[in-house]
Subunit: 352 residues, 2 copies
DNA sequence: ATGCTTGCTTGGATCGGTTCAAATTTACAC
DNA sequence: GTGTAAATTTGAACCGATCCAAGCAAGCAT
């Protein structure tokens, strides 16, 4: 059946005794061709083992793939394993499903030629998950000359179409919640501020961070705490990367002579790791220490205790992002979407 | 800048004063063209705002997309939400990453024309997750005349290239484990046996099930239990679908005058739902009742208590599936991959 | 019969590149 | 200055369809 592989529309047309144009119509606009001709062509096609119009041929003409690519500077498994990415992908999927749009996964880790990557992915546009290496990702995508929007972009660059959240406002909400409960001794368990960093940060390091996401959250915490009379200098900020660095940070925080009564965590992931560490040490949440996360991933609802956190409206972010790509109407400036505070059981009034 | 959209290779070639062929080489085989010519063409291209060779044009010639599609008769969010699918996708991702292959998600729920679906997805082949509606999915895919392998196919059909697991052997392992612990009263908490069914099944209904996955697991349980002197008739089999039907089934099981001391669950998902129900009822696992799952999803390790289960070697399944597609060497007959028993804390000797 | 619609068919242009045999240029030895 | 091999460049053919202006036949009114 080697022949099958090479049967093309033109062959069918010739065999059926009609023109290529008519044969094409039989498949893509059946209503314009006379019934008996259509039947005959269809029969011939089947007999020859023709598998319908080749997608690539059609594509070349149409120019539209009907799919959007989602890219990150992470291995592809990231899309299925990272809680935030997964939740976001599920929302993006739902929007795509509704509009009959396909999704392709792209990992920007692999930059060899001849492989599937940002340069070669067959898509109509990109949604970029910029949690890490966002700028590099944007740069690569620009070359493709396709519409794209950056999500969770950690840098301020007016020229990049971005849909984001107001990190300062979100962090402020988290801080206000704890302050209103009566907490006055805090520590910030941060995410990444600059390429590969970890450990206790100075005020100066925080303000000059490479990643604005972490910086803004820190600023949001500080600003709100100041309103409650808590001096920023008294609130240590720890930068973290992997699980080990998170655990090291929490350990450092609680090694202090007067440990905090509340932890401001810059992501649910770090919050959950911290809670694990606390449980191991016999420290109870929220009795001994309160903790509030950031992101609002599913896991935060199911943890023990359920984590109070700032939840991102992922569905809305997904909707706007997909729409922007499909309509080739990417936002000219950063779109900000409001956050909400979900109060659960990891926060309570401080002891005494 | 409307012009930009239409700058093509031929334009650049003309402007730079070289032939289309040379211009093409500049981009796809830069080493064959003289340095100064290459520089010049590149400069011209940049000046004209040419965004590199269009992927679709190249595709038409090359014929290879460098991506595989993963399809299921589920909304696309399924790939990110269902524990089994997610775990499998992560493994498939890893294999694809290693070979520079892209992944596209396809939902066969949406069968309108003009949308991204099995007929139109730009991929080199398909991996089908046949947990539900597997046959329909296979049929649709056949029309595409592309290589494909079915995973978790629930029917016996020698003509379908399938990579699967030995459900009978796996179920036997689960049953042996419980029997060796001393259990003699069992109930089977099943998955789907036929389109939309639920509730207690007769022996006859089990044997004539539409989905061989469920049937084989039931047979595996029965067969091994018989070796320990437990009559199949004494082991009720409940079919389940959604969470409500699972809960109803467990409730029915424990409403019996002499409830079982051990539950054989046909998937980790039903096992976890059952454990939730048991906890609500104040029944302790494994003290009051032992339970063993099937699949070996991540959640089963993290549950309270961790679930004893039959784990599927998803990494191996993924590897074989992807390789089969990439090399266009789909198995001619069903490939079976061995399972292992992971003994954790949800099983123990029966009381008294 | 003639003129005018209406409805299907046709063939060639086009989408945007890649490929390869042949032509041309360059390099080098004699 | 000439011959030959090696390095580049060219131009036409091709990938597999869709699109569209133009052609043609049948149907209908006058």
């Amino acid at each position: 059946m080697a022949s099958r592989a090479t049967v093309k529309l033109a062959d069918v047309a010739r065999e059926a005794g009609v023109s290529k144009g008519t044969a094409s119509n039989v498949f893509s606009r059946p209503e314009v061709v006379r019934d008996e001709v259509r039947e005959h062509v269809l029969a011939t096609a089947k007999a020859m083992g023709y598998g319908g119009p080749s997608v690539q041929g059609r594509l070349l003409r149409a120019g539209k793939v009907n799919a959007i690519g989602v890219a990150a500077v992470e291995p592809m498994a990231y899309f299925f394993e990272d809680p935030w990415a997964r939740a976001l992908m599920a929302e993006i999927s739902a929007v795509c499903d509704a509009s009959g749009t396909g999704m392709a996964l792209v990992s920007a880790k692999n930059q060899q030629k001849l492989v599937w990557n940002i340069q070669s992915a067959l898509v109509d546009g990109f949604i970029l998950l910029c949690v890490e290496g966002g700028e590099k990702l944007v740069e690569l995508t620009r070359e493709r000359h396709l519409p794209f929007v950056a999500l969770a972009l950690g840098v301020d660059d007016k020229s990049i179409p971005t849909i984001g959240i107001d990190n300062i406002a979100g962090a402020s909400m988290a801080a206000r919640h704890l302050a209103e409960l009566g907490h006055r001794r805090f520590a910030v368990l941060g995410t990444e501020f600059s390429e590969g960093g970890a450990g206790l940060l100075t005020d100066e390091q925080v303000r000059s961070a490479t990643f604005s996401t972490s910086r803004d959250r820190a600023i949001g915490y500080w600003r709100m705490l100041a309103e409650f009379g808590v001096a920023p200098e008294s609130v240590p900020v720890y930068e973290t990367q992997d699980v080990a660095s998170i655990r090291a940070a929490v350990a450092a925080i609680f090694a202090a002579p007067e440990p905090p009564t509340a932890i401001l965590a810059m992501s649910d992931r770090v919050a959950l790791v911290a809670m694990e560490w606390l449980a191991e040490q016999g420290l109870r949440v929220p009795e001994d220490v309160s903790i509030v996360g950031f992101d609002g991933v599913k896991e935060a609802e199911l943890s023990e205790p359920p984590l109070t956190t700032i939840v991102q409206p992922l569905a809305e972010i997904a909707r706007q992002a997909v729409q922007a790509i499909l309509q080739d109407a990417v936002p000219v400036e950063r779109q900000s979407i409001p956050l909400t505070l979900a109060v659960r059981a990891s926060t309570a009034k401080p002891k005494g």
